[in-house]
Point group: C2
Chain length 208, copies 2
């Protein structure tokens, strides 16, 4: 069933997960698609359609069980597993990531950071060690690493990306302003292109 | 003409702009849609279709003039104007933004930062002043501010967003993990939801 789900639906799942998490914190046990759509600024039919892709979760007239739906969407998103993350490039963006405790709570703990600046070797940021990039191979061999976040300049990111893929890491969270491609088609990449985002904003300002 | 262009095409424009900028740096004067598609891992017909939305820019058999196309896409994206930016929340993410000189080169200079932590008032990050949030109103009245970047926790972001909108700022670059909505429909918002991006990555890891 999951194979046929469009990327557009998948892209909306984290938002459902976020809203349902807020409802849980507020102690809401059940919610109708109408109430949920009002909160999410969406339509009830869109919500029903999206959730039907995963078998529905709701009973006509009873609404959705918030905790059950939250947990099921979490499972679909793979959040029932912990994903160990390393960050390559221990600059400000890396610091922001490692200090934002939400990522760890979602199951994405940063377990190490790597840099080329000797002044940083042996330091800690938020209790996470910064190592030399020369120690990357050994670290990856000794520890389970699921995700490599790349927060380094474009010109170094391509090489670093290929290196982590060669070490067997299968997922890359790429903040460098470059598109990454690999021969190994098992590797998944998620890009955060901040400049593209700013240009999008600028386009929308210009059109208004 | 521009009114009919789909958001999907618009979302691809920054990527064209980026690749054409790289070609310019390499000294490439002309490029065919076939050559460009090979570089961009896209199809030539997609590129021709996308660019036809804006009148084409290419001559059959001659390819595209790289500088002309780069400049025209830049104009469509509003990059021929400077957009003054302020950042609310002077934490690590703000530091990363202000130290990344690419944004200024693209025409998005940060002109001030604001925080609620008194220890930061009067300090500078990359030569940009950090002010108290109490000084926000006065600053916005005295300076042209086009974009407010929100790099502060979710619980403070909604209030800060409404405040900058009330001050007349029409564009928000939102890094807080919350969806912002305003009565004023002239306000444009671009979200960078990093947790959503990580969940997307996790989904794709899980499906592999």
């Amino acid at each position: 069933m999951n194979e046929q789900i469009s990327q557009a639906v998948i892209r909306r799942l984290p938002r459902y997960y976020r809203y349902l998490g807020d409802l849980l914190l507020q102690g809401t046990e059940r919610i109708s698609s109408n109430e949920l759509s009002a909160k999410m600024n969406s339509t009830a039919s869109q919500i029903r359609q999206d959730l039907n892709n995963f078998g529905g979760f709701g009973q006509q007239g009873y609404g959705y069980n918030v905790k059950y739906l939250h947990d099921e969407i979490g499972k679909i998103l793979g959040l029932n597993n912990t994903h160990n993350m390393i960050i390559i490039g221990a600059g400000n963006l890396a610091k922001a990531i490692v200090r934002y405790d939400k990522f760890e709570r979602l199951g994405f703990p940063t377990i190490a950071m790597f840099d080329v600046n000797p002044e940083l070797f042996g330091t800690k940021i938020n209790d996470i060690n910064v190592y030399s990039q020369d120690d990357l191979d050994e670290f990856v061999k000794k520890n389970r690493v699921d995700i490599a976040a790349l927060t380094l300049p474009k010109q170094n990111a391509v090489k670093a990306a290929q290196r982590v893929v060669d070490l067997g890491i299968k997922a890359i969270w790429n903040f460098a302003h470059v598109d990454l491609e690999f021969d190994n088609k098992d590797v998944v990449v998620e890009n955060v292109h901040l400049s593209d985002s700013l240009m999008q904003l600028s386009y929308n300002i210009t059109r208004k």
